[in-house]
C-alpha cells in the first residue's frame, strides 16, 4: 500500500510548479467527487510508493467555497501521511494564515518555504530555523522555479512520514479565544472522537460559527446553547464578533512569529518591478487598449499567423491518412458500408474536429503565459466592472473573449476561474459569443439575402450574441445562480517570467484533454450522424440523403421552427448536422438542395426563406447549442452529463426565443 501526501497552499505561491517538480510529468488529472474542483495526483520522483495530491489553491479553510470544503474534507477523511504546505516567502504573513489552519487538522506537516531566492536577492531574510522552532514543524527553504531545495524537501518529507509521531503544535491562541476554545473542546470531545475529526479543528470551527461542522458533529441543542454562551462571553470580552476574533488571533500570532524570524527591509525586487509594469499595464487610459491589443495579437497569431496554416497542414495530413486507409480497406475487400462508416463517418467527423488541435495548443500556449506571468489577474482587475452587472467577475472576461475564436478552448479556459458558480455561468454564456466556425454560415446567408449589407448583418449578429449573453446572464443571476456569488477579493501576484516547463505541461494537458474528447464523444457522435445520414428507416443504405433517417427527422422537427419562419426540412436537417461542427450547416444545405454552386444555393435558399426568416435562421444557428466538441468540453468542465444537457437545452431555448422574436417582430415591420 502506497503512502499519500497532500500539497496545500495559497494561489499564486508556486504550488503547481512545485507539484510538477515533485512528480515530473507523471500526473493524473481528475475532479474531486461531486464538484468540479480539479484534483491532480502524481507519484513523487524516485519514490514510486509515495503519491501526492495537489489540493486547490486556497487562502483559508472557511466553509464558503467548494475549494476550501474539498481541501478540509480531503485531509479529514483521507488522512494523508503528511501535508506539504507551500508558503510564499515574499508574502509570508498571509500565507501562514492558511498554515495555522492546516496545523489544526493535526496531520504531520512540513512547510516548503518557496521563493526564498527572491527574498534573499532583495536584501531581506528569513530565519528558517527560528520559524521552524516557533511553528513546531520542519521548514525547508526552496525555490521551485529554480529547482532549489526540492531534493531536501523530499528528503525531509520522507523522514517526516517515517517518524510520524510529530504532530504540529496548536497552542497559538491566547486570552479570550484560548478560553473559549478550551471550554468548547471539553464539550464536544466525545463527538469529535466518534466522528474522527481532529478535536482542535472541530472546536475552532464551532467557535467561528461554521455550519457544516455543526452538522457533521451532530451538535445537540443543549450544546449549541452552551456554545452560544461561550461565544457571547468571548465576543463581549474582545469587543468583536467570532469570525473576526479568530482571524485576528491567527494574524496576531503570525505577526509575533514574523517579528522574530523575518527581516524585511524593503519590497522585493519583483514587487518593485511589478509596480512599475502595472503603471503601464493597468494604466487609467492605456490599460484597456493594451489588453485588447494583446488579445488581438494572440488571436492573430492563433487563428491567422500560425494556427490556420498548421490547421491546413493537419487537414492535408488527415486527408492523406484517410485516403490511404480507404485504399487499404478497398484492397482488403472490406464491405462497402464499413468503408463508408470508417471513412465518411469516423475519419471525416473526428478529422474535422482534430484539425482544431493546433488552434487549441497554440491558444493555450499564450493563455498559460498570460496566466503564469500574473497578467490574467490584471485583466480581471481592469475588466471587472463590465462583467459585474451580469453577476460575474473580471476573471470571466478572458474565456468569453476566446469564445469569439472557438468555444472549445474557451470552455476549457474556465478552469482558471476560482469559483464553481462563476465557472458554470461562464460555460453557459460563452457559446453565445459567435465563434469562427460560424463564419461560413454568415457567408452563405449574407450572400443569399443581404449581399449589400453583409458587414452590417455580421456585426449585428455578433452584437446580438453579446446582448443575449448579457440577458441570459441576468436571468441566471436572478434564478439558478442567485445569492452565493463568490466575492471578488483577489490577489494581484507579482509578475514573474513563466517557466517553459509549466507552459508546455499545460499545453500538453489541454491537448490530451481535447484528444480524449475527439476519440470518445466526437467519435461516437460522428458515427451516429453518419448512420442517420446514410440509411433509411428500412436500414437500407441511401445514395440520396433526402431519403435518409436524418432527413425524416429533419422533416419531423421542422414544424417546431414554423413560428421562427423556417419550417423547411432541409434547414432543420442542417441544424442537426450543425451539431457535429457549425460549418456543417452550409455543407448539408448544399447537399440537400442539390446546389452545384454558391449562386445556385443562394437562389434556392431564396425560395425557402425570406430575408426576415433568413435572419432569424442565422440568429438561431449562431445561438443554439454549440457543436459536439464544445458540448464534450462542457460536460467535462461541468462535471456531469446532466448539467451539460441542461446547458445545451438552455442555450437552444434562448436561441428559439430570439429567433421567434426576430421573425415575429420582423414580419410586422417588413410586412
Amino acid at each position: 500500500m502506497g503512502k499519500l501526501l497532500a500539497l496545500a497552499g495559497n494561489q499564486n505561491c508556486g504550488k503547481t510548479t512545485l507539484f510538477n517538480k515533485l512528480t515530473g510529468s507523471n500526473q493524473h488529472v481528475g475532479n474531486f467527487p461531486g464538484v468540479t474542483v480539479e484534483k491532480k495526483e502524481g507519484k513523487i520522483k524516485r519514490h514510486p510508493d509515495i503519491s501526492i495530491v495537489d489540493l486547490p489553491g486556497i487562502y483559508s479553510l472557511s466553509p464558503y467555497t467548494s475549494e476550501e470544503v474539498v481541501t478540509r474534507d480531503f485531509i479529514v477523511n483521507e488522512k494523508p501521511e503528511a501535508i506539504i504546505n507551500i508558503v510564499d516567502a515574499t508574502n509570508i504573513e498571509r500565507n501562514l494564515y492558511l498554515s495555522l489552519q492546516l496545523m489544526e487538522l493535526q496531520r504531520p506537516m512540513i512547510i516548503a518555504l518557496n521563493m526564498m531566492d527572491e527574498v534573499k536577492s532583495s536584501g531581506n531574510s528569513i530565519d528558517v530555523d527560528m520559524l521552524s522552532k516557533e511553528l513546531g514543524i520542519p521548514v525547508v527553504p526552496i525555490s521551485a522555479s529554480k529547482n532549489e531545495g526540492i531534493e531536501e524537501l523530499i528528503e525531509e518529507t520522507v523522514k517526516l512520514v517515517k517518524n510520524k509521531a510529530v504532530l504540529p503544535k496548536i497552542d497559538f491562541c491566547e486570552g479570550s479565544v484560548h478560553k473559549a476554545i478550551h471550554s468548547m473542546a471539553h464539550i464536544i470531545e466525545d463527538q469529535a472522537k466518534e466522528k474522527d475529526i481532529p478535536l482542535r479543528f472541530a472546536t475552532t470551527k464551532l467557535i467561528e460559527g461554521d455550519e457544516p461542522m455543526m452538522e457533521l458533529l451532530e451538535v445537540t441543542e443543549n450544546q449549541k446553547h452552551i456554545l452560544e454562551h461561550i461565544v457571547e462571553d468571548m465576543e463581549s470580552e474582545l469587543k468583536t464578533d467570532r469570525e473576526a476574533a479568530l482571524a485576528d488571533m491567527r494574524y496576531n500570532y503570525i505577526e509575533k512569529i514574523c517579528a522574530k524570524a523575518v527581516v524585511r527591509r524593503q519590497e522585493t525586487n519583483e514587487q518593485i518591478r511589478s509596480e512599475k509594469i502595472d503603471k503601464i499595464l493597468t494604466h487609467k487610459y492605456f490599460g484597456i487598449p493594451i489588453f485588447l491589443g494583446i488579445m488581438l495579437l494572440i488571436f492573430y497569431c492563433t487563428f491567422t499567423l500560425i494556427g490556420e496554416p498548421l490547421k491546413g497542414l493537419l487537414e492535408n495530413l488527415i486527408d492523406l491518412g484517410t485516403n490511404s486507409l480507404r485504399n487499404l480497406l478497398e484492397s482488403l475487400n472490406v464491405a462497402d458500408w464499413l468503408v463508408m462508416l470508417l471513412i465518411d463517418g469516423v475519419c471525416a467527423g473526428v478529422g474535422s474536429v482534430l484539425s482544431f488541435l493546433p488552434l487549441i495548443v497554440i491558444l493555450f500556449f499564450f493563455l498559460s503565459i498570460l496566466e503564469d506571468s500574473g497578467y490574467m489577474a490584471r485583466v480581471a482587475f481592469v475588466m471587472d466592472k463590465l462583467l459585474r452587472k451580469i453577476g460575474l467577475s473580471g476573471k470571466s472576461f478572458v474565456p468569453m473573449l476566446i469564445g469569439f475564436g472557438c468555444s472549445v478552448p474557451a470552455i476549457m479556459a474556465t478552469r482558471t476561474l476560482s469559483s464553481d458558480r462563476d465557472r458554470k455561468m461562464t460555460i453557459i454564456l460563452t457559446p453565445f459569443m459567435s465563434c469562427s466556425a460560424k463564419l461560413p454560415i454568415y457567408g452563405m446567408i449574407t450572400l443569399a439575402f443581404f449581399p449589400k449589407n453583409a458587414g452590417l448583418v455580421m456585426f449585428s449578429i455578433y452584437v446580438l450574441g453579446i446582448i443575449v449573453a448579457i440577458l441570459a446572464g441576468l436571468l441566471l443571476k436572478n434564478t439558478l445562480f442567485k445569492g452565493n456569488s463568490v466575492p471578488f477579493v483577489m490577489e494581484l501576484p507579482a509578475y514573474r517570467i513563466p517557466s517553459g516547463k509549466s507552459v508546455l505541461l499545460h499545453m500538453w494537458d489541454k491537448a490530451k484533454d481535447f484528444l480524449r474528447k475527439a476519440f470518445t464523444v466526437i467519435f461516437i457522435a460522428s458515427m451516429v450522424i453518419w448512420f442517420l445520414q446514410s440509411f433509411d428507416w428500412g436500414l437500407n443504405m441511401v445514395s440520396d440523403s433526402s431519403q435518409s433517417i436524418l432527413a425524416s427527422i429533419g422533416s419531423l422537427i421542422a414544424p417546431i421552427f414554423a413560428p421562427l419562419g423556417f419550417a423547411d426540412w432541409r434547414t432543420s436537417t442542417a441544424l442537426i448536422t450543425g451539431l457535429t461542427a457549425k460549418e456543417a450547416v452550409v455543407s448539408t444545405l448544399t447537399v440537400l438542395t442539390k446546389a452545384g454552386t454558391d449562386a445556385e444555393l443562394s437562389s434556392i435558399l431564396n425560395t425557402i426563406l425570406t430575408p426576415v426568416s433568413a435572419y432569424a435562421y442565422l440568429a438561431f444557428t449562431v445561438l443554439y447549442m454549440p457543436c459536439v466538441a464544445a458540448f464534450a468540453a462542457t460536460k467535462r468542465e461541468m462535471g456531469s452529463m446532466k448539467s451539460a444537457l441542461l446547458t445545451a437545452l438552455f442555450q437552444t431555448f434562448c436561441a428559439y426565443v430570439v429567433g421567434l422574436i426576430i421573425f415575429q417582430v420582423g414580419r410586422l415591420i417588413v410586412g
Binding site: S62, Y64, E243, T282, V382, P487, V489, L492, P493
Partner: protein, 76 residues
C-alpha cells in the same frame, strides 16, 4: 471614514470590518483585520475595483466591499 473614500497614495489603519457571511470572512482571511496598515495604490480604469497594498502583498477588492471597511489615522 471608509476605505473606498481613500484616493490612490493614501493609507490608513483598519478599525473594523462590517458586512457579513462569505464576503466578510474572505476580507478577514486575506488579512484585512483590525489594526492592519493598508494603502490604496490604484483605481481600475473604469473606476472600480481598487488596488490595495497590505501585509506586503497586493490585493484588489471592489469599492462596495471597501465601503464596509472603516479606516482611522488616514495619512497621505
Amino acid at each position: 471614514m471608509t476605505l473606498d473614500k481613500l484616493v490612490p497614495g493614501q493609507s490608513g489603519i483598519i478599525e473594523k470590518i462590517d458586512g457579513q457571511g462569505a464576503l466578510r470572512r474572505r476580507l478577514l482571511d486575506m488579512g484585512l483585520t483590525p489594526n492592519t496598515l493598508v494603502r490604496v495604490r490604484k483605481v481600475a480604469p473604469m473606476g472600480d475595483p481598487i488596488e490595495l497594498y497590505l501585509r506586503s502583498y497586493v490585493l484588489t477588492i471592489r469599492k462596495d466591499e471597501a465601503s464596509k471597511i472603516t479606516i482611522k489615522g488616514v495619512e497621505k
